[in-house]
Subunit: 240 residues, 2 copies
DNA sequence: GCCGACTAACCGCGCGGTTAGTAAACCGAC
DNA sequence: GTCGGTTTACTAACCGCGCGGTTAGTCGGC
């Protein structure tokens, strides 16, 4: 019923990660100081060390979470898609929309070089696996006729580029909702790759009606005083 | 005939800029130290201050050069293109190929936030102007029927994303030549946007035959001891 | 002898990371 | 209940390092 200590710790940890990811996206890893992240969360730098052992592990956690999302989307795409193109587009759009939700957009690969060798090797391994899986979807699509013949490697580079770029310009407060953006993006990709491209695309992303979406999106975490929260945790003697 | 002192200074300056851009692209602005750039050029940090007043001005010069290239490409595209789509694709591909040649790929917008306020405002103004021009080309293409109806803003975001991403993965030593890459990229963009999309694309970028290109590309500046070069500048009493 | 190009040595600042200490919540004994 | 000891969450103050930037001085072509 009530959250246990461990729950609260996990929630705060996620909040720290989210704030860090936000800064890393906007200013870059090296340009962001821990003091900055801490201040923005209403605590001091030393407090962050209760949740992460050092700055680099924050970045590593970003990548880890992003890759988890990537493979989950891939799984979903594989299951729900009817053909290669369908699976590819589902994977991509699931990935983008989840990252926007969970991490305020993630750097994805932007600053991979800043990771420590061990973490970096792991990331590169996973990322390559993900990219190979995407390329395999393109090949599958070419074979089943849903995707126009092309160089899968380049096609995936183009798509990843457009996706990762989103983190640089997308603002939740802007004219487009995440759902609208995701939909419009996937329609462009679909058109670029489909063997039977659509004859028209949305003229204005902001006007798109999205099927199952809660429209104006939660107005960000307005009063996020998640850290510095104290209070009794009644009922925590047994796991909830 | 022989270079004057001022010429040599200019050449060396450009070499410094190129090396800096290379590092900024690969590791990011804040992760790159001046010592690192200098060492890689075979000089000490203090030597760089003969060519640029401080680190930030190196970044500013990168952006300035990139924007010069951008507007030059735009001009060329406007002149040589037959319709909106044509002009857009010419602009983009000219931009990409020139940046690869001149700056070892440029960050373009990647770390705009690191600029000092004055330089940044200038960059943002120019970049917005460039983006507006690109969007105008999309609109023009929609009106003249060469481009599929779409949201010009999103279309340009996608294209810029794919383009800027190139700097992150392209290696001159790789399997693809800059010319092949540029051509293949523009074909993908063309297909994504054209009102009459191609039914096929290159299956392997590395196999592309490019019209007017010197193939294997100069093997980078292998023995670049441009700085630390000393020697007589015979005949420099009058401008060459 | 002058002047431009460059080096070696240095400076102060702000960063990531650490330490000692405080306040409050928790938990078992009675 | 409530009282003591333990644990968790956090702060204030501090440390050393490496950075961007500066200074004084050397070398060599003109």
């Amino acid at each position: 019923m009530f959250p246990t200590k461990a729950d609260v710790h996990g929630i705060k940890r996620q909040e720290v990660l989210r704030e860090a990811a936000s800064f890393f996206n906007f200013k870059g890893y090296h340009a962001t100081s821990l003091t900055e992240i801490a201040t923005s969360l209403g605590v001091t730098k030393a407090a962050l060390y209760h949740y992460f052992p050092n700055k680099n592990s924050l970045l590593a956690a970003c990548f880890e979470q992003a890759m988890d999302v990537a493979f989950a989307s891939l799984e979903r795409g594989r299951k729900e898609g009817k053909n290669g193109r369908d699976r590819l587009v589902l994977t991509i759009s699931g990935y983008v929309s989840q990252l926007i939700d969970e991490l305020n957009c993630c750097v994805v690969l932007m600053e991979e070089q800043a990771l420590e060798p061990g973490d970096r090797a792991k990331l590169v391994r996973q990322r390559d696996k993900f990219e190979r899986a995407l390329r395999a979807l393109v090949k599958e699509g070419i074979e089943d006729g849903s995707v126009v013949p092309c160089d899968p490697k380049l096609a995936i580079f183009v798509i990843l580029g457009a996706m990762n770029w989103v983190a640089k310009w997308f603002k939740p407060s802007g004219a487009w909702t995440p759902a609208q953006l995701t939909l419009a993006l996937s329609q462009i990709f679909e058109r670029a790759l489909s063997s039977t491209p659509a004859t028209a695309l949305p003229r204005d992303v902001g006007e798109l009606q999205v099927a199952g979406s809660r429209e104006p999106v939660k107005p960000a975490s307005a009063g996020k005083r998640v850290l510095t929260f104290t209070g009794p945790l009644r009922g925590n003697q047994n796991k909830k």
